[in-house]
């Protein structure tokens, strides 16, 4: 058993799991609103989706505040260093129990692929979803905001594109959570805060 380091602080874990729950719930209700299946019924699905959206926005206000006051935002500065090593590890090394090319520290808790992926979520997928989602929500105010030229069809379509991107991220994210130094080390770390690093 190797050493243990404390990488995810209490607020970060709370933020992660609340966000995880809300995003799963919003995918569930959102794709129903989109008409892919019927679960809660359209009316309730819309109400839940809207409610979860406001909850997530509130959570985000706190999370952004936390990122900037703690300096944790620096964890997402992209780097190409060791990206190829990570790729190689996921494509071959992982099968042969090769040594994980990345060593976590409290200052660099994400491997370079994680950095890129999370930055992509934060700077591309999330803004796309929030921007289109809020416009969607305030559809009836478009005229008074001088946005009558917008088309609901386009806003909805881009919102759905964002949702699919989130779904695809979600699938990869869940799987790669098992691709730490041990299959459960990332997951344990996200729950307890402590990551085993060999």
């Amino acid at each position: 058993m190797g050493e243990r380091i404390y990488i995810f602080k209490r607020f970060e874990r709370f933020w992660h799991w609340t966000q995880a729950f809300l995003i799963m719930f919003m995918m569930l209700t959102g794709f129903e609103v989109h008409g892919l299946y019927s679960l809660f019924g359209f009316e309730d699905a819309v109400a839940y989706h809207t409610f979860a959206a406001w909850a997530l926005i509130t959570l985000w206000v706190f999370a952004i505040f936390w990122h900037f006051t703690t300096g944790e935002w620096k964890q997402y500065i992209p780097t190409m260093d060791k990206v190829d090593a990570m790729m190689k590890y996921y494509l071959t090394g992982i099968f042969t129990h090769a040594e994980h090319p990345f060593r976590q520290t409290t200052l660099t808790k994400h491997n370079p692929l994680q950095r890129l992926a999370y930055l992509g979520v934060k700077l591309m997928i999330n803004p796309l979803i929030w921007f289109t989602g809020l416009l969607y929500l305030f559809y009836s105010s478009w005229d008074s905001w001088g946005l009558s030229w917008l088309s609901l069809e386009w806003i909805a379509t881009f919102h759905v594109i964002g949702a699919f991107m989130m779904l695809i991220f979600f699938i990869a994210h869940i799987y790669l959570a098992t691709a730490g130094h041990t299959p459960t080390s990332h997951i344990k770390a996200m729950i307890t805060g402590w990551e085993e690093t060999d």
């Binding site: 799991w17 008409g35 309730d44």
Partner: protein, 559 residues
Amino acid sequence: MMSIRNTLFLAFCMTGLMLISTIAGANVQPTAVAATDAKAVDKTAPAPDTSNDTKQEKKDSTADHSKFKELQRDFASGPEVTKACLECHTEAAKQVQHTKHWTWEYINPTTKQKLGKKNVINNFCTSVTSNQTFCSACHVGYGWSDDSFDFTKEENVDCVVCHDTTGKYKKLPGLSGHPNYESMEWPPHSGKFRDATDLTKIAQNVGKTSRQTCGGCHFYGGGGNAVKHGDLDNSLVDPGHYLDVHMETEGLNFSCGKCHLSDSHEVTGSRYAPTAVDTKGVLMRGKADGRNPTTCQACHGDRPHKPEHPKLNEHTDKIACQTCHIPEYARGPVATKMTWDWSTAGKLDDKGHRVQVRGSDGRVTYDSKKGDFTYDRYVIPEYVWFNGDIKYTLFGDKVKGKDLVKINEFQGTPGSPDSRIWPIKTFRGKQPYDVGNDTLAIFHTAGKDDSAYWGNYDWEKAIKFGMEAAGMPFSGEYKFVNTEMSWPITHMVAPKADALSCQQCHTKGGRLEGIEGVYIPGRDANPWIDKLGLLIALLALIGVAIHGGIRIYMSKRGE
């Protein structure tokens, strides 16, 4: 703004909960939202208001007409009663003579089409021309049997047909707008007799118009109860809450005139000039802006839903109130007529007598005089974009090459601010047209002469007579053509618990499936984005499954 504040407040409460109970807190939210379910049944019935109840009519009135000397006499005819009315109500006949109820004529200011009962052709009994003796049973006048009728003669106005409170006044088809002054067999050949109309009693008991008097014609349009409109039939004389929230006898108990506010005998809310879009909010009393007071918005405004349901109010820019709040028509005990096929008329039995076939509910489904009918109850309306203009196919309009002639067509532009999505009844028929002249045929249905179709079942004679009466040429050759006529659905407003639910439109194959010009979440999607998104998600799943499979396999082998 209320809605945003509420939502933000809820979101903050939610976050508070989450902070306390972490993830488990999220389970709270479905209940919090469900508590404001739009479908919650309002059990607080409004206090009964009987001020419009016809039974109370005499108490409301400051005049007891039975005390008037002018009315304490025998009357030989309707016009004599009218003369007596006019002795006091000196201007009444002049007022009536300005209305559509009298002229049966209306020029549409937008399309300039000459409409009104006298001019339009429909796909029920088709046209008034050459059939006035019968049709004028619903004319507010006496004696209109042909073109020689004097529309300026004041005593020709029928006051009591609208102002009777006894329920004993009945103008019978065939009497040119008169009631029977002698005892008369009615219905014809039934062996039953109607007593001579007691004009003195009726004149002494006049009062406000009522559901019974308006309904005397408007519930029976098209030749019988519930036949024509689909949202008007005699079940509205004493409706329950379910059938009509406004007219419910034990509830609001609206008379027709409560919405169809009238001034100088001009009744508002004509089907010939409907108001499809009303964004002006609640109508202030006394405000003379020429608005139609019969719209829902004239009382409810155009943002009528409670602030807890902001999304519902946001629908008013696209959808007429009626679309959600009248989920079906013919919601009463009586089915409405849906189709009428004149082409099968004229089949007689072995003895050459008229045949009538009745359906299980006792209503006639085939009549030698009229052809085949179908009826339906709880009918889901069809939906169209409607801006208030209706274009008619009139006498003389060419119908060549058309498999389907639209008797009238609701105009509207999908998605346009000047149009709303409206529920309509579409009545489908098959009726004769003049092949040579390429126009719909006018035919003579009822009369004692030998050209009336209902007397001798000869289309050629009936059409020739009808066309002549209309001053139109007849080529001598006729065929039958399919026709469609649209009727706005606007009465029989259901309780809110029975209004459409969101999902009835926000789904694939829902109520508004064919409606263009709006993006309806739940119905609409970009098929390529959906396919591509799902495909990539599926590939990602397969990818991680393979990757994970190899990892498991390799680590098993390594053991």
